[in-house]
Symmetry: C2
Subunit: 120 residues, 2 copies
């Protein structure tokens, strides 16, 4: 799934910031519950989401202690981004991820908080 | 995952009702968020869950218009049961499924309602 964000000039996929091209994201109305649930149904991705929930301004997932290779991390962040769970923006040569809480809370009220309430 | 229900004499796995053996279910504290999310992250299983949400007393999933074979239906209901999303009890020669709403709401407050709020 490589949906290019539409309907939001703020996040045009061809825009560049800091020399790194922005990545495609689904617009809110393109987010599908099955993809969101699939993205969340993985221990590593759930760990990432829990960490991001603590960082409203976003953070580079590379600083998280996940015990996985950079390429595996890239795969997981991509799955979260393509599902509409996280927004990834370039900053210099790194990428900052943040939870799309407003979108998820609007589409599926309670889902994210319910997931975050789960015992680890 | 074939976890036998423990800690609840009401649902002992060796008990029989109507001549059909009851099936194993995870106890509440054995339910894992990853398994619940995986179980919900499928269009057919989500359809089943939406239908069951309308039937607090439970219903045979066989009466649902899902457009799938009986063996595929059995697979999907088993996935939901093993994850702790549905409880399946025998009634005569059929099986009645019901949503484990109390367990899911207690473990992950808001999750189920958020999922059910998703546009179809």
């Amino acid at each position: 799934m490589e949906t290019v964000l539409r309907g939001s000039s703020n996040f045009d996929s061809s825009r560049t910031m800091g020399g790194m091209q922005t990545l495609p994201h689904p617009a809110r109305d393109e987010i599908r519950i099955e993809a969101v649930l699939h993205a969340l149904a993985d221990p590593v991705r759930l760990h990432i989401v829990r960490e991001l929930a603590q960082c409203p301004d976003g953070v580079s997932c590379g600083v998280m202690d996940l015990g996985i290779s950079p390429s595996t991390l890239t795969h997981h962040v991509r799955t979260l981004r393509e599902a509409g769970v996280v927004f990834v923006r370039p900053r210099g040569t790194s990428r900052i991820s943040s939870l799309r809480r407003d979108d998820l809370d609007a589409l599926y009220p309670g889902l994210l908080n319910g997931v975050l309430a789960a015992p680890r």
